[in-house]
Symmetry: C2
Amino acid sequence: MPVIRQSLGEVVYDRLLSAILSGQLVGGNELSEVTIADQFGVSRTPVREALNRLAGDGLIENGRNRRAIVRTVTREMVVEIYQVRQCLESGAARLAAGRMNSAELARLDAISAAVRPDGIAIDQNQALAFDAELHGSIARHCGNRRLAEEVRRYTNFVPIFQRLAGRRDDRLLLAYEQHLTIIDALRAGDAEQAAAAMTHHIQSALVVLLDDVFPEAPQSA
Amino acid sequence: MPVIRQSLGEVVYDRLLSAILSGQLVGGNELSEVTIADQFGVSRTPVREALNRLAGDGLIENGRNRRAIVRTVTREMVVEIYQVRQCLESGAARLAAGRMNSAELARLDAISAAVRPDGIAIDQNQALAFDAELHGSIARHCGNRRLAEEVRRYTNFVPIFQRLAGRRDDRLLLAYEQHLTIIDALRAGDAEQAAAAMTHHIQSALVVLLDDVFPEAPQSA
DNA sequence: GGGTTGTTTTTTGTATACAGTTGACAGTAT
DNA sequence: ATACTGTCAACTGTATACAAAAAACAACCC
């Protein structure tokens, strides 16, 4: 019954993505197309589309006989994802530094102000919204739509990880201050400073995430 | 008749990719699934797979009623691709600097030596092979398989562009010297130097490519 | 008993059939 | 003549049918 707003392939993709990153679908699991199709009540066609996209995201690998196998979400995988984000988003910030107009900067300032309405306490929802808005704004204003798209692909992973890590005021505050540093660099038009601040911000987010989700040896990244 | 080494979807993808980047398929063109299927003598299924992958590569966009439209290969698109490569590959070089062992460095040295067998003239084929080998080696030794995969995705574009740009000894020589600089940095374990050298190398390749393929105003990147 | 080979079952790759939506065109009414 | 409407054609999304390959299992030979 194709009364499509979001195609079935996208639905299956979204649900599988969430299931893998949140740990419901554990690594090493073999994903049979027919099994998934039955579970979702759809045919193999949209399932294949979803699996292809997941393979493109590097979340499933092709085992023997091209069978889809869920890649384990390990500490290493998270590090890899955040390192790629670091490459992409610091590059985007470097490009955006010279291109972001004052209207957009003012808009970010306004959203920023809502994070600490009384100047002291932090509004957790606003803080997360600000984070998403800042990263998105930088991507949109880097002058490279392709780079923006790559950033967006990796941004898909972030909310799920954020949910895994939980919210803590001290960490949100730390991230908030990093956000302000990034905006300062953007406003100053300092490309290298913007890139460095973004690199530091993402590195910091990685450490927090690892601490919460993979509390093993302190770090190695 | 599935006697598949390379699936039909991959064949269609490869040929369409090449056709788009080389300009045989011009931008704005609407790609009907049935038309392409007929042209290649296959059914719509592998064509859909190929189109999905091309959409993932940002080479086609979804027009009205989700119809696939070839994106025009403009100067701007090439700039965008090379900027993303710059982000990814300089990051890979930064990571690889500390991780590349002496055996791999020796292997690269050997390939390097074959580029100028008599120490003066340059072997064009060997030079291109060395280029591919160096970029691939850095990706493989950056310690981040995901980043390596992203690099590889973008490396698919390169040979087609290289063919468009043609070969000239002076340019190959320039690139060769940049390669040596990169290897020096890797050998020294100087991450920042390696990243900077890679950035410069890709930037240089972009300028050459633009000069040849889009000989408009000198540059703006 | 172990290894090899033939068969069966499962799974993927591909083709085709069907349903629903959208754009185009023609015809009619104003 | 123009605007509206109904029909049609083309296209995509989805489901299903079919073919080939591979893995699992069993039987057989040594």
